[in-house]
Structures are given as structure tokens and as C-alpha cells.
Amino acid sequence: MMRSNWISFTSIARKEMIRIFRIWLQTLVPPVITISLYFIIFGSFIGSQLGDIDGYDYMAFIAPGLIMMSIITNSYANTVSSFFSTKFQRNIEELLVSPTPNWVMVLGYISGGMTRGLCVGMLVSLVSLLFIRLPLFNVPFTILFALLTSFVFSLAGLINGIFAKKFDDISVIPTFVITPLTYLGGVFYSISLLPDFWRTLSKANPVVYMIGGFRYGFLGITDINVWAGLGMLLLFSVVLFLITLYLLKKGTGVRC
């Protein structure tokens, strides 16, 4: 049974990889261009006018945030669009009629989200090397935060895809929730520089912990408790995974 599930998983994962690389002009190139522009405009043009933050120049400070931003948006975008188009074309039925367990199906789609999120993250990291020399303070932390954040946002995208009934539904959450949370999550500034009220409010934003922990992995500086960030990511991973399984078991959005 384990072997059968493994084959099912690799089949879904393979399909997702083929999709990501078949439409690479949609999946891999645009985020790299967007983030490169951020590096040029904020890092180079504006950043050169600003002083250091915690001992690092502005470009080095924003680099981990920009990499994390690309991981978040691309992990989410991949699962939500792939799962919704699978529903839209009704080829989700290929999986539903098969004996593939729901947890295998979830992991298969997550593998796609993580592949795209981490691929784009790697490409953005390579682009950042054109502008700065990025230190790596703590490799395990960096990898762990990247993997868990990608996992969590791939799950969130999948849940969005499960509920989505029309194309509008797959852009509402990214536009009105994820983008504001990411931009206000400390990509471009340290929350320690904010007035008390905004600093306290920012601590309710989970993205602050993801970016904070990831930045710690690179630079060794942080404005949050990285262990709390790690714990929160683990908790989100488990809770969102269970929610996804529950929705699929109920047949939400996929069975009548």
C-alpha cells in the first residue's frame, strides 16, 4: 500500500512539475523580474540614500524579505491556480475516481507549490547576488523557514482552490490578504523602528515571523522571537493540513 501511495504521489508531483516548467513564462520569469525591480528601485536607488539597519546596508536588509516574499506568493499561486484549473477542467475526477488517499493528493499538490515557491526563491537569491554579497548566518534556520513557509502557503493556496468556484475567487485572497500581510510583514523595514502601536499590531501578522526568522538565518539579526516563529509555522502546517484533509473528506468543492 505504501508503494502504491508513493507512486500516486510521484504521479501528481510529476504532473505538477511538468505544468510549472511547461508554462515557465507564467510561473518562473515574472516573479524574478518583479523582485529584480524591487532590488533596483528600493535596494539600489532608494536604499543608497538610507543608513544601515542593524549593521547591514539597506539592500542586504531587504534581500531575505524579498526572497521570502517570492516564496510566499509563488507557493500560494501555484497550488491555487493548479487546483482550481484541475477543478475547472474537471480532470480532478481522474484523481477522485482512483484509490489515491486524500493525504497523498494534498502532498502531491503541495509538492508543486513548494517546487515553484522554492525555485523562484532560488532564482531571486541568485539575482540578489548581482547586487550584494549575501551572508548565511545559520543555514538550518534559513532552510527550515523557507521550507515551512512554502509548505504553509502551498496549503493555504490549496484551501483557496478547494473553495474557489470562479476565476475571481482565486485572486481575492492574494490581493486583499496575502499582499498586504507581506508588504506589512517587514520586507522593507524592521518592525522595531515602528511606533509602539504599529509594532504591537505587526506582531499579530504571521508573515512578520516568517520574514523575521528567514532574515535571521541569513543575517543573524531579528526583530522577533525566531523560536516563536518556528513554533507558529509548525502549528500552521499541522492545522492547515488537517483543515485541507477535512475539506476533501467532506467533498467540499470537489464532490456533489
Partner: protein, 301 residues
């Protein structure tokens, strides 16, 4: 052994529509079983429940003795399904669609490639294996779905209106293929509203209408129940009127074609003698293409 046993199957959709109200029927292993009914009768809902695309609200389904409530994955391994409308990704390549489906059933990739080649060749799609599915014609898309439904070599193959919108030549080819599959021992369930198709292929027939089974018997038995039968008589000379005859109705399709509907009790000799008396010469005679249609109309109305 029973390939499929359905007892008191119920489905009420969220809006309150009762699609199935206690559907019960059995399919013996090796049968070529036809599930007939008009559009909206509950055929696709029934298949949806058997294949897990629709959640039942009551009743029992057993596939080769396995209750789907106890072990649906085990039951699913025994079922192959060919849906009514194309439900593959149109951007994926033909062979990828088939091998992926094999993967979902736990078939290793090497074996999946061998099997996909076997079925794509059988269905005349091997030359198209590297083509994205959107480039296939309607008939090819249907054959692709049959190859996909067979790749895990199910004991029970369910086809939902497999020849709807397919041209006559291709339909005949598909029939031959399905008959061959059935001869090899595979149980086949076919839904159709082409009664000619059911008459040609199926040995067992159930008729469903408004979510209920109104008939379930062998084709032979069903045809025996046929009280009326219609024939077309091609006459030598134009005919515009025929004297009435008991247990027989005459109508005209055109000047040279007389439509004769006779009750079972009426003999053909009597009809021919009756026409002969009036100087009407019958050149040739043919049976209306599908006799089941008359019975079907009687049952669903």
C-alpha cells in the same frame, strides 16, 4: 458473482432535488449491462455514486462484494470509468494522461508506459501520443478516455454515453471494441439513450426514469414484452389509402413507404394478404431500427 449490487440508492442534492429515489439493481460478473433512461433520469448520478464523484444520501453499493462504505479504495481499483464529457487536461499530452492515471492507481511508471502503449495502439491513438489532448477530434477524445479507463485493467468498466455525438463508422468500431472487451470477461455497464446501441450490445437492461428503476431484465425478456412492432413496407406503386385492419395501424411516410405498426397478436401473413387484396404490392420490408424504443417510450411516459 455479482459485479455490482445496488440497493435502495438515494440521492438528494443540496437544493432539495431528489435525483434517485431507491434505485436497486444487480449486475452479474461478465454481463454487458445497459442502463437506459431519458436525460435527467438519474443515470449519471448513479454512476457518480459508484465512482465516488457523487455522495449518496442513502442505500448500499457493493462492487464485487466490497461495500463502498467499508473500503472504497479497494472497490475503486476494480472499476474503470469513461465519463460522458471530456474530463482530462486539454494541455497535457495523450500518453501522459494515460500514464498519470495508471500512476494514480499505484501502477509503476515502467508498467504504465507498457500498458498505455497497448491501449493507445488498440484505440488507434498511438500516433497521437505526443500531441496535447486539445488537438484531438471529438471521437479521439472519447477513445482517449476509454484507454485511460482501461489502463489499470478494471474488472468492471462503466461507460456513460460513450458514443454520444460520434459518427456512425466510429460508433460501430467502438461497439466492436467493447464487445471484444466483454468477451474477454470484463463486465461492462453502459448508459445510453441510443436504444439501438443497447439492443446491439447489452444482454441485460435496466430502465431508469425519474430516479427509479422501472424495468430490469434480460434483453430477450424485454423484447418479448414488446406488444407492438413497427415495419416499413416499400410499395411498388404509390399508396395513399389502406383499408383498416384489426390490431394494425397504417400510416404513410411518403408515397412509396407504408408504416405498419402491428400488435403482437397480428400475423404478418394476414397483413400481407390484406394489402394484396387491395392490389398493393410490397417490394421490400424492414424492421424499425430499434424495437426497444417503443417499449422504452411506453415505460418512461
Amino acid at each position: 458473482m455479482l459485479a455490482l449490487s445496488i440497493q435502495n440508492l438515494q440521492k438528494k442534492y443540496q437544493g432539495g432535488f431528489q435525483a434517485l429515489s431507491g434505485v436497486t439493481f444487480d449486475v452479474q460478473e461478465g454481463d454487458f449491462f445497459g442502463l437506459l433512461g431519458p436525460n435527467g433520469a438519474g443515470k449519471t448520478t448513479t454512476i457518480g455514486i459508484i465512482t465516488s464523484l457523487v455522495t449518496k444520501t442513502g442505500g448500499k453499493v457493493r462492487v464485487f462484494g466490497i461495500d463502498i462504505d467499508d473500503d472504497f479504495p479497494a472497490a475503486k481499483r476494480l472499476i474503470g470509468v469513461v465519463p460522458q464529457e471530456a474530463n482530462f487536461s486539454i494541455f497535457e499530452k495523450v500518453q501522459d494522461i494515460v500514464t498519470q492515471q495508471a500512476g494514480y492507481y499505484g501502477i509503476p511508471r515502467r508498467e504504465a508506459l507498457v500498458r498505455s502503449e497497448k491501449y493507445l495502439k488498440k484505440l488507434g491513438l498511438w500516433e497521437k501520443r505526443h500531441v496535447p489532448a486539445q488537438q484531438l477530434s471529438g471521437g479521439m477524445k472519447r477513445r482517449l478516455m476509454i484507454a485511460r479507463g482501461l489502463v489499470h485493467e478494471p474488472k468492471l468498466l462503466i461507460l456513460d454515453e460513450p458514443t454520444a455525438g460520434v459518427d456512425v463508422e466510429m460508433r460501430r468500431g467502438m461497439w466492436d471494441f467493447l464487445v471484444e472487451l466483454n468477451r474477454q470477461g470484463r463486465t461492462i455497464i453502459l448508459t445510453t439513450h441510443y436504444l439501438e446501441e443497447a439492443e446491439q450490445l447489452c444482454n441485460q437492461i435496466a430502465i431508469i426514469t425519474r430516479g427509479e428503476i422501472v424495468e430490469n431484465t434480460s434483453k430477450r425478456e424485454l423484447l418479448r414484452k414488446l406488444n407492438k412492432e413497427t415495419f416499413f413496407f416499400d410499395t411498388k406503386n404509390p399508396v395513399s389509402a389502406v383499408m383498416p385492419l384489426e390490431n394494425t395501424e397504417f400510416s404513410f411516410m411518403d408515397d412509396g413507404t407504408l408504416v405498419v405498426t402491428k400488435n403482437k397478436s397480428q400475423s404478418m401473413n394476414r397483413i400481407l394478404a390484406h394489402l394484396d387484396q387491395q392490389g398493393i404490392v410490397v417490394d421490400s420490408m424492414r424492421n424499425k431500427a430499434n424495437r426497444l424504443e417503443e417499449l422504452f417510450m411506453e415505460m418512461v411516459e
